[in-house]
Symmetry: C2
Subunit: 459 residues, 2 copies
Amino acid sequence: MSLDTILARIDDDLPAATDRLIELLRIPSISTDPAFKADCDRAADWLVADLQSMGFDASKRPTPGHPMVVAHGGADAGDGPHILFYGHYDVQPVDPLDLWDRDPFDPEIQETPKGRVIRARGASDDKGQLMTFLEALRAWKEVEGAWPCRITLFLEGEEESGSPSLVPFMRENAEELKSDIAMICDTGLFESKTPAIVTMLRGLLGEELTITAPQMDLHSGMYGGIAMNPIRVLTRILSSLHDDTGRITVPGFYDGVPELSDALEAQWQGLAFDHAQFLSDVGLSQPAGEQDRTPLEMIWSRPTCDVNGIWGGYTGEGFKTVLPSKAHAKVSFRLVGTQDPQAIRESFRQMVQDALPPDCEVSFISHGAGQASEADTSGAMFEAARQALSTEWNIPAAYVGCGGSIPIAGHFQKILGTEPMLIGFGKDDDAIHSPNEKYDLDSFHKGIRSWARILDALT
Amino acid sequence: MSLDTILARIDDDLPAATDRLIELLRIPSISTDPAFKADCDRAADWLVADLQSMGFDASKRPTPGHPMVVAHGGADAGDGPHILFYGHYDVQPVDPLDLWDRDPFDPEIQETPKGRVIRARGASDDKGQLMTFLEALRAWKEVEGAWPCRITLFLEGEEESGSPSLVPFMRENAEELKSDIAMICDTGLFESKTPAIVTMLRGLLGEELTITAPQMDLHSGMYGGIAMNPIRVLTRILSSLHDDTGRITVPGFYDGVPELSDALEAQWQGLAFDHAQFLSDVGLSQPAGEQDRTPLEMIWSRPTCDVNGIWGGYTGEGFKTVLPSKAHAKVSFRLVGTQDPQAIRESFRQMVQDALPPDCEVSFISHGAGQASEADTSGAMFEAARQALSTEWNIPAAYVGCGGSIPIAGHFQKILGTEPMLIGFGKDDDAIHSPNEKYDLDSFHKGIRSWARILDALT
């Protein structure tokens, strides 16, 4: 049977596949920082070249931000489904750099007590993951000489910076990108071992606010006690965003937040989530969300509010008795159900405005806004993919939620009418967005094999 | 009369005196930042050389931090008082640098609608001020050939970074530094026009705290909603430091805070402080302190609490959905009366500890701690100096309070038994500790003349 040949080819090619991933990881494609613009471009070029070498009709497509990579293949494969694969080649910033054990962009294969890993920024999120399907497609083509169905690859370079160009690009190229299923590889195994298809994704709203009180920085000796300090205003406003039970206080925030269906609640209880281990892995013990919710609800099905950055005044060594003119914060909300990002943005801004004392001003910067999404799992392809995953991992695969925001899933549904299917192989200790990010070689290897099995099952 | 000759000499020498000040201002002696250690040393060397050129027995005296400059002269002047002059040659950091119109260490004489100014970091705080008495002493010596009394100069290089070496140095050199009066030039004119002797100074307590929640930075998609965010903890604690009336909530904080005497209250009412103008100069309109206190009380006789710096999470361009491990703040308290800095430090730390939710830790760094001080104005020298100032400025000089903390004043009283007298010529719009700091040439010129008159009046 040819699937076995393809899987054997994947096994044989693993060292070369790893080398290719290392090459891609060497490119510091940090999308949020303009200093790395050329590197993002370089990562896109690398992918285009790799896809062309496999026989795809691949090209780098300009946007006002970082380019998209789009590739097509298998146009003459007959009447199987048209399958799209989505991943992102951009990565998170690396600060605090001093907490990395080595250069984040000098990847290394390391032996660990839990197995071999490849360590670098982007190893798990998302370069290692997106390369799983490139490698599966490469092996398939090498063994079979052709792909089994029409295939499109759609690789983004702005996922870590709010995807500003994504929606316009999808709208402008909707006909080209429409497909029967959109495979998104940017999620993880459940509890680091159970293969999982994410069917519920939180949305994300990002806001940045700057409070200005005096027009200039002042000496707190001269003005302290009479002049309003913007940090005092900012901390008061931010501390009012949660009540004592962990509930978020933005007016109207919970509009559109659904309760779990009985079926899903039962399934999640069956997952026996070890939240104590999940928390103790990062030095915590107490779930910090709404106190009347289960840990899985807190991370999968309940909305959140977090301050992701705060700064103002003197932050260097020593002390400076400055009474600053401005104080800043970056605030994000994870959204669920039908919560409306724009309505929450407006309500948040109004709440901040209403809380401003005299003489203070606030300005806002809009960062990304994406609604939550939930997959329709009733089609046959979901069950076929679940079976393929179960076979490869030898563990029944699960339908799970995901606390992260992958707005692309909702965009596929709304803009293209294409059902997204989220399958990924990350582990909880991959340290994505953190120092010393890694991807298990086992995730990489079985991930590639999983895609070959899924491709076989769907065609 | 020789005073007239000395004053004329000061007038003639003003261009050269200005050039000397510019030379000193070119040295970036930022004491709080270790990167500028050599520059602090260079500023001390410059002062030693200048004092030696006038005939002082001057030397640079090492400390564990930046050196002191000590100089003696007039040992054979007979039985007049022994007068000590204190100033500091170190300066504040310059950030935010992008708000400066020019290099902070490339001084320039500028014409402004309010007269000529010299613009540079340290122009007013405190290099321009300390040079006023060096120039007065230079002119005196040039005209008279000798000083009229025993004179000591004591110039510090750590005033802007909490003066860690000051108390040990004063203790070790107490016999050498004891004098009949200590003239401190680090204050301003009242309302930018009335010459003033500061008789009441607030103390200062500086604290830095770091809240740690998770052991590492986390992805808010994976952990948001279940993991405690240290910024949430920090903002909640900082926002609890003031109640709704502006009163500070640290337990025991108001122990030792006195009410004004009737006499001082009456004198301050006579000063007719234009607080609306004072605030509108910096873009504000509402006094932000304790709502049952007058504006002058807020800045002179009431204690304060300000966050001078806050930082945590991602603060660069764009957005990063990080859930940080740590959040930090620098907090200072201005103290009055007999408030005990150490007791308040302990109470503050206990209050923070008590407010910590589960899984959070806090660590503290102690910055400077100095008690408030009040001068004994009953001696004849205060009235003589007040008269001399009134003559030079042609406005009756006032005894005033000062919101800033000049711990040296208390140290002179407590360690040396020497009464401090605080006279300075800064203006409210000097922008000390802010971008585009300046010193009026009029302050510089009349300041030099004032010291000559005071020296004449006291001897």
